[in-house]
């Protein structure tokens, strides 16, 4: 099954000023993507933008699938105008998804901003395991997917930088509070290790902090990284990150990496 395919746009819904949810229907059967995997997508057939852009699986609808995106630059500001009937060329699913982990461990999901795009996919796939979700954003209007999460039975703990929704502050601080309470009141630090697994996606500073947190609480954590990509398939070496095991490609060995492997 070649990973190069075209999809027709089914719907392209504006969620906030800068956020859109696009529903795509592959024009041929594709491999079922795993949460954490991504697609490289051409928003146009022209030469500008030139390269395909990476977008994470947001929701698999058993054939159709959804991407959640923010309009930040050239490609995304073209993508937002795509309408039903338009056809987009893409490659995927690419990379490795989030590893599920043993079924007894609790699942902590942490999403910063658009990090909710892939984290939601994971939340949906593990919703029966009652994951806890920590969701940080700049302000109220950047807090996405709350409704959809509720329908999965997940009520995220929310923080915003400006306090316009949830607690004011960083989501990682809330996570630290939570883990500290767990360690001090319920369990010895050592026990937290096996009790939870953490999965996170968000801006770099948040992920760096996540590495520190998982180390401190000796938790197994997985981080979905982003790096500028040209090929998406491991050929160009543009997306490398430094790990304890040498340079690794976000597109190929990632985008999900064990938190302890990343050298920040």
């Amino acid at each position: 099954m070649s990973k190069l395919f075209r999809s027709s746009v089914r719907e392209n819904r504006k969620l906030t000023t800068d956020h859109y949810l696009i529903t795509l229907r592959p024009l041929k059967k594709i491999r079922k993507p795993k949460p954490g995997q991504f697609f490289m997508l051409s928003v146009d057939s022209g030469l500008d933008p030139l390269l395909k852009r990476p977008f994470s699986l947001h929701r698999w609808l058993g054939g159709d699938f959804q991407l959640l995106y923010e309009t930040v630059g050239k490609a995304t500001n073209i993508l937002k105008y795509k309408a039903p009937g338009n056809v987009l060329e893409m490659i995927g699913p690419l990379g490795n998804g989030f590893p599920a982990g043993p079924s007894k461990t609790g699942i902590l999901l942490v999403a910063g901003g658009l990090g909710i795009a892939p984290v939601f996919a994971l939340a949906e796939s593990v919703s029966s395991r009652r994951p806890l979700l920590f969701l940080g954003a700049k302000s109220r209007k950047e807090v996405l997917c709350i409704e959809k999460l509720r329908s999965l039975g997940i009520r995220p703990t929310v923080t915003t930088d400006d306090g316009s929704l949830g607690k004011k502050g960083l989501i990682t601080d809330i996570l630290i509070d939570f883990l500290s309470r767990q360690s001090s009141t319920c369990l010895p630090v050592g026990k937290v290790v096996n009790r939870y697994r953490v999965y996170a996606c968000g801006p770099k500073p948040m992920l760096r902090e996540m590495s520190r947190i998982t180390k401190k609480f000796r938790l197994k954590g997985y981080l979905a990284l982003e790096e500028n990509m040209a090929c998406g398939v491991g050929a160009c070496l543009s997306c490398v990150v430094n790990t304890t095991d040498g340079l690794k490609r976000v597109c190929k060995e990632g985008p999900v990496f064990p938190a302890e492997e990343i050298i920040w």
């Binding site: 500008d48 390269l51 500028n228 070496l237």
Partner: protein
Amino acid sequence: MAKKKTLNTKVSIGRLKLKNPVMTAAGTFGYGEEYSKFLNLNNLGAIVVKGLSLLPKQGNPPTRIVETPAGMLNAIGLQNIGIENFIKEKLPFLRQFNTPVIVNFFGDSIKEYAKAAERLSRVSGIQALEMNISCPNRQAGWSIFGTDPKVTSKVVKTVRNATDRTLIVKLSPNVTDISLMARVAEDAGADAVSLINTITGMAIDIRTRKPKLANITGGLSGPAVRPVAVRMVWECSKAVNIPIIGMGGIISAEDALEFIMAGASAVAVGTANFVNPRAAQDIIAGIRSFMSGQGIHNIKKIIGGVNA
């Protein structure tokens, strides 16, 4: 109209015979594996692998690429697994295909160039060597290999003496007169020249006031540079008698034919692989259909065929 089966797309680069003139450009096609699921490697004229050095290299820190209008800047910095690892881990895969393998390589001194060439020449399954003297992303001083005619002459001569494989010298566009550099390479014993490598460029994030690439500058490639590359191929084709491998922004069969008419015996597809992982194969098909549409039976008939 020429019938499809009677089309002759064979070209020669030195003693190397290619079934068609379309190869991949170094550094844009990994070690071949990565794209083998998208196209049939047997269909390619040749596979040029990511630039290798004697020892593995780390390359530059990220951010390593940034898109620019109709192009991209890269500052990978020649990260590679090293020649020995390539021979052990990657070459066996490539040997399965009926397509010549061209190894792009570099050194940080004339001695290292020679050693690398020697080592690569002792291995079967490598049909030609492309020496990269023109990467804009190495440390200061490195660029003289590709911009100072005296140094170029010396390094090419030394490598020439170190290998009996078809030797291709990859030229830098960051010079006043590329045809002079092509002549220098020819005189020093190159079997062919390939051009262009990337043009040095820079992009700045005005909000953070930092260069977008960690390496500050990078190499510009993609359609944006094509007119410059075509001009340089044309200039070189008037200056040397050895074959030219043309590249720089080829994204379609039309683009490839522009290079061929400008004087390239073969072409390489680089950045286009990222845009369309099947680009090289699509371009070969497109060349064939242009030939049959125009009644051109033999591709050699149009090499250098521009009326200028």
